[in-house]
Subunit: 139 residues, 2 copies
């Protein structure tokens, strides 16, 4: 079987794009649980790559380490916690959507400001029109 390959921390670090420091930190926090060989060396498997991949997606939504820890704890507690896990992720989802919406709203203002600069630069908008006045066009 090809999927039983064991990765040592350095190799794994390269694969998932996290420093060995971070990997050990996550392990301390209980987010990643590598296996150990006879001599106490950590090793990671394909399953760990997938798990870290998922964790990174969650982190990328803005999920905090503490929430991730909760999630992991629920997972460890078995199938009975599935509704709780779903609820936790649904909250993260909601927060992430709100965050994106907010960013987009702020980006809109920035976009307008850049348009305004462009208008000013090519003189298609009055030199003296204020940004506030300009913005009102879009309200």
């Amino acid at each position: 079987m090809v999927n039983v390959k064991k990765y040592k921390i350095g190799e794994f670090s390269q694969l998932v794009g996290l420093s060995t420091f971070t990997l050990r930190y996550y392990e301390n926090e209980g987010i990643i649980k590598p296996h150990r060989d006879q001599s106490g060396m950590r090793y990671y498997t394909m399953a760990d790559i997938k798990w870290v991949g998922f964790v990174l997606h969650l982190k990328g939504t803005g999920m905090k380490i503490t929430a991730l820890k909760e999630y992991v704890a629920l997972r460890a507690a078995g199938d009975a916690t599935i509704p709780a896990r779903r609820a936790l992720l649904a909250q993260v989802q909601k927060d992430c959507e709100a965050e994106i919406a907010e960013r987009q709203a702020n980006l809109q203002v920035l976009n307008h400001k850049i348009d305004w600069y462009d208008g000013k630069l090519d003189a298609s908008i009055s030199e003296t029109e204020s940004f506030e006045t300009y913005l009102k066009r879009f309200e």
Copy 2:
């Protein structure tokens, strides 16, 4: 005139939703420049409200304090810096768009995971189908 009202820091703080600490911090960083009365008290005007409003929009796009400081410095240097200011904001715009796209991609994964939980909960997806397998449906 109604627009010459002067706001003291406490009042202004309420208006813009920043603590007095933060207002003084921003002032230290050169981002906000309140006026002073005869006795040395800070006061803010309508123009300052608008400026802080814009600053908060910029911050909301993910623009850093250092970039904000650069922007303010360019503004102070006059109209000749308009192209530089535009370039600075265009970079922020680009970064913000990239950030939003990344968040959305990560959110997609989270959405799928929640769908998967829902499928599992109402048994419309096999109990044993792994998340990874499920995810492949969308690749």
